[in-house]
């Protein structure tokens, strides 16, 4: 696709208090970076979730987005699935294309 490189994008939405553990896993899986979006809102399996709160950074949802080569994604996906087992949180995995593959190697 227009000279872009195929990779795997993993998006994880978890309670903010579980986000540090997820970030550790992403780093340990060899991802070179991630994007963290605090205070995301929406409706899910457990009902509604408001967005950012003025005086509470902990009881909100955080979305983590990372992109990594296909060969490294499998292990991270398995680890996140295990960690989400029985807990609040979702993961989306999609194919994506990046313009600067060396940033993600």
């Amino acid at each position: 696709m227009h000279g872009m490189t195929a990779m795997t994008k993993v998006e994880i939405i978890v309670p903010a208090r579980d986000a540090p553990g997820m970030r550790d896993l992403i780093a340990a899986a060899g991802a070179t970076g991630y994007t963290s979006v605090p205070g995301v809102s929406g409706i899910g399996h457990h009902g509604q979730h408001c967005g950012a709160l003025l005086f509470n950074d902990v009881d909100t949802l955080t979305m983590l987005i990372t992109v990594l080569p296909h060969e490294r994604a499998g292990e991270l996906i398995a680890a996140v699935r295990a960690l989400l087992d029985g807990r609040s949180g979702v993961m989306f995995v999609t194919d994506t294309y990046v313009s600067r593959p060396d940033y993600f190697q």
Binding site: G21, H49, C50, L53, F55, N56, D57, D59, L83, S88
Partner: protein, 811 residues
């Protein structure tokens, strides 16, 4: 480390609740990991969720719980009861609810089984090395500490003569770093993948106090994590040939056998016919014996709540205008001050979280290090310092502080060197002997002399907090608007006093548990000063006026500090008070002095070892007495939180048991302020409430036990005796005296005056509030306005409750 092993560690650790170090004690719900579970469905070995049935029956005999309370609790918990026709008991027809109450009063309850977890075989080695690693002020720094806990331990333990030679040899063969070592140990111990999480969880539960502290440290300091700790523990098991254990699953608990027929026979009496017994048994089947304690607890709480709602009917009117408005922390200890201050009709008071909506990291002028003076729910984003107002005096103070610091350092070094302590004792022993004597016999005098000496060497200098550097104007305006809307403050007096609180005690490692929880276990003085500076900022006022919150030009905000032991209120930064307001401040100070004296005597009635007849000097001397284990009672007794205008509670003695947050829906058109109250101050109040609740019920497992045998490890925490687990929670002296509880373990009753739709929407939007309300961790009762009926929140919507009347029926 293998990603799968790291995942297993994270899975095993996710139910561990981080415990703050005792030097910045933050109350937490020790069972917070279970908040998504119904309260009564929790299964934690060695943890009591309620009082015992004999304790409830004692309360029943004393009239603290009445038959009417039990009937209400039964109807509330078992809605099916309403569908039952009266039951023929053989003697008379009784309602199903009455039959169930009779059963609760009569049925036999076996002694609870002691299901405490077994001791930890690794305790001695683990505690010795972990304490050495995390000690902030050790005699010798642990060599290799920079490589992490496991690596530093392994390097030293290879030479530890307490370990057998073979163990040391085996240790030398293990990997040098935690990740690979953990993998190698799991392999050596032949732990299957399916069992790994259970084994790791059992290791973390062996010393839960240390585990909770290390989790906090991994999140805040980052110099240790639970993988390191687990690697150390499993390595010890490998080298000492100790088997691992698997954490028990709650599902494996044996089911309790319910003797339904015997209970029914007991109620029917010896002459009871088989049909009557069967009819009674049919009703009793609704209420298994293991559920009785939760119905007792509901009745226990229902009685308090009914009395509280009943009392609110007697609130008095708030004066149309006031000369002084005093904003105090929601802390229940403020309630007494507010009640006494309001005996003067020209004083109006408000309740707001004690950080006054200004979350900061603060470094005092000339001070070393910084403190995070903000709720534990927030990360510090704004660093605030002080600027001296008198540069000449400031230089003298800095010189003095340096001299004191150098002297303290020299003394510390001399005390801790190998030979010099003997010379030190010879040279200065007489001085310390006299000092100890005066400290014991005349604690207040000792304190006064020490303070004067310190002030002579390093004279205090007036300062001002630097809000302009820490917050942009827009941030200041946002915080100020949020604060005013949250506390419903839209009409202003000439003088507004923002009063934080702090506690004074001596030789008390749990001192910070008595300070302000909303300020991260610190006194709230700096937050009050920063908030006053923001509200006095002309630029802030201009923008607030544009948003419909006009603060009159002649209104001045001043900061103050309430000392919760002496109950005195000290006005801070007096040099910043304009001349136009000094008379008003003086009048307020005089009023506050009278209030302090009244309140100290009032509190003395409940304080162990105190008597309201004692002199004020003696009552206040407790703050300086180094043998005093009850300087004050802190938040013991806390039971409810009221969110609404002061008209709801003014003139009522709430016994210093209620968190009071002011709120007016007319000042909060969007509902955002109420959302902030319910998602922040309410959460903190709930943490505090459950900390007291579980410390009272479980002084040995979730409480810190008695202070009298505590040994401190730096500012980290305490051990009971010389080894063992790091104690969690509050000491026994915060919740009890002798064998008697000072704190009634009641889950928080939250009362809110605001439109029900607004409250319901906020709860629906927030997972944590849903968990707390739906799973019975708190109760939520609300009314739309002062004339509306009270409604109780249920998972199915609001349920109207009958007009509260406290029934005085006794057994």
């Amino acid at each position: 480390m293998n990603l799968l092993v790291q995942t297993h560690v994270a899975q095993a650790a996710r139910d561990v609740i981080a415990a703050w170090p005792v030097e910045s004690f933050i109350a937490v719900n020790p069972l917070a990991a279970h908040e998504s579970t119904r309260f009564e469905d929790i299964s934690e070995p060695g943890v009591a969720l309620t009082l015992t049935v004999p304790q409830y029956r004692q309360a029943f005999a004393a009239g603290r719980i009445t038959r009417a309370d039990l009937r209400s609790a039964v109807r509330e918990r078992l809605s099916e009861v309403a569908g039952f026709a009266p039951v023929d008991t053989g003697i008379e027809y009784r309602s199903a609810a009455d039959v169930l109450v009779d059963d609760m009063l009569a049925c036999h309850h076996p002694e609870p089984v002691d299901d405490a977890e077994p001791g930890d075989a690794l305790e001695r080695d683990v505690v010795k090395w972990v304490a050495a690693y995390v000690d902030p002020d050790p005699r010798w720094q642990m060599p290799g500490r920079q490589h992490g806990l496991y690596a530093a331990w392994r390097r030293l333990a290879i030479h530890d003569p307490h370990l057998p030679r073979t163990a040391r040899h085996r240790l030398s063969l293990l990997p040098a770093h935690a990740g690979p070592a953990l993998e190698a140990c799991l392999h050596a111990l032949e732990i299957r993948d399916a069992d790994t999480v259970g084994v790791l969880r059992a290791e973390l539960r062996a010393l839960p106090g240390w585990t909770s502290y290390l989790k906090w440290r991994s999140e805040h300091t980052g110099d240790v994590d639970l993988s390191d700790y687990l690697a150390l523990r499993l390595a010890l098991r490998v080298i000492l040939d100790l088997p691992t254990v698997l954490a028990p699953s709650p599902e494996t608990s044996p089911a309790t056998i319910d003797d339904l027929w015997e209970r029914a026979e007991l109620l029917a009496g010896p002459a009871g016919r088989r049909d009557d017994v069967a009819a009674i048994a049919h009703v009793l089947a609704l209420h298994p014996r293991i559920d009785h304690v939760f119905t007792w607890q509901a009745a226990y709480e229902g009685h308090y709540r009914a009395a509280l709602l009943d009392g609110l009917e007697r609130a008095t009117a708030v004066p149309a205008s006031a000369d002084v408005q005093v904003v105090m922390c929601i802390d229940p200890r403020s309630e007494g001050v507010r009640r006494h201050l309001e005996a003067d009709p020209t004083v109006e008071t408000f309740g707001f979280a004690g950080f006054f909506g200004v979350p900061i990291r603060f470094q005092s002028f000339g001070g070393r290090g910084a403190v995070d003076s903000l709720p534990a729910l927030l990360r510090p984003r704004h660093a605030v310092t002080e600027t001296p107002a008198a540069p000449q005096r400031a230089r003298k103070r800095i010189r003095g502080l340096r001299a004191l610091d150098a002297a303290a350092h020299a003394l510390h070094t001399t005390e801790n060197a190998t030979a010099t302590p003997f010379a030190l004792a010879e040279a200065t022993g007489w001085f310390y002997g006299l000092s100890s004597l005066s400290r014991t016999v005349t604690p207040t005098l000792h304190r006064t002399v020490a303070e004067r000496w310190r002030n002579l060497v390093a004279p205090p200098t007036p300062t001002e907090v630097t809000i302009a550097d820490a917050f942009t104007l827009e941030e200041r305006v946002t915080l100020a608007e949020a604060g005013l809307r949250m506390m419903g403050l839209a009409q202003f007096a000439r003088l507004v006093v923002l009063t934080g609180h702090g506690s004074t005690s001596t030789n008390n490692i749990f001192q910070s548990a008595l300070d302000c929880g909303a300020c991260g276990g610190n006194p709230g003085a700096v937050n009050a000063r920063a908030a006053a500076a923001i509200f006095n900022d002309r630029g802030v006022r201009e923008r607030l006026a544009a948003r419909g919150l006009a603060i009159p030009a002649d209104t001045v905000f001043v900061a103050a500090l309430h000392d919760t032991v002496a109950d005195t209120i000290e006005v801070l930064d007096p040099h910043l008070v304009p001349a136009s307001h000094t008379a008003a401040v003086s009048a307020f100070t005089a009023r506050a002095t009278q209030v302090a004296d009244q309140l100290v005597r009032e509190r003395a009635a409940d304080l162990p070892g105190a008597d309201p007849g004692q002199s004020l000097h003696r009552l206040r001397a407790r703050a300086h007495d180094w043998a005093e284990v009850y300087p004050e009672l802190g938040l013991a007794g806390n039971a409810a939180m009221i969110v609404g205008p002061r008209e709801m509670t003014r003139g009522i003695d709430l016994g210093r048991r209620v968190f009071l947050h002011s709120y007016r829906e007319e000042v909060d058109p969007t509902g955002d302020a109420l959302q902030s109250i319910l998602t922040a101050p309410l959460i903190v109040a709930q943490w505090i409430n459950h900390q007291y609740y579980f410390s009272a019920l479980n002084p040995d497992t979730l409480g810190a036990g008695t202070k009298t045998i505590h040994n401190a490890i730096g500012g980290i925490g305490v051990l009971s005796g010389h080894s063992g687990d790091l104690r969690r929670g509050l000491p026994w002296q915060s919740v009890g005296v002798g064998g008697t509880l000072l704190h009634e373990p009641l889950r928080l009753s939250v009362l809110v005056q605001a439109p029900l739709g607004r409250i319901g929407r906020i709860v629906s939007d927030n997972q944590v509030l849903r968990n707390l309300c739906d799973n019975d961790w708190i109760t939520l009762t609300a009314r739309a306005d002062a004339h509306a009926a009270w409604h109780r929140y249920t998972p199915y919507g609001w349920s109207r409750i009958s007009t509260p009347t406290l029934e005085t029926e006794t057994p």
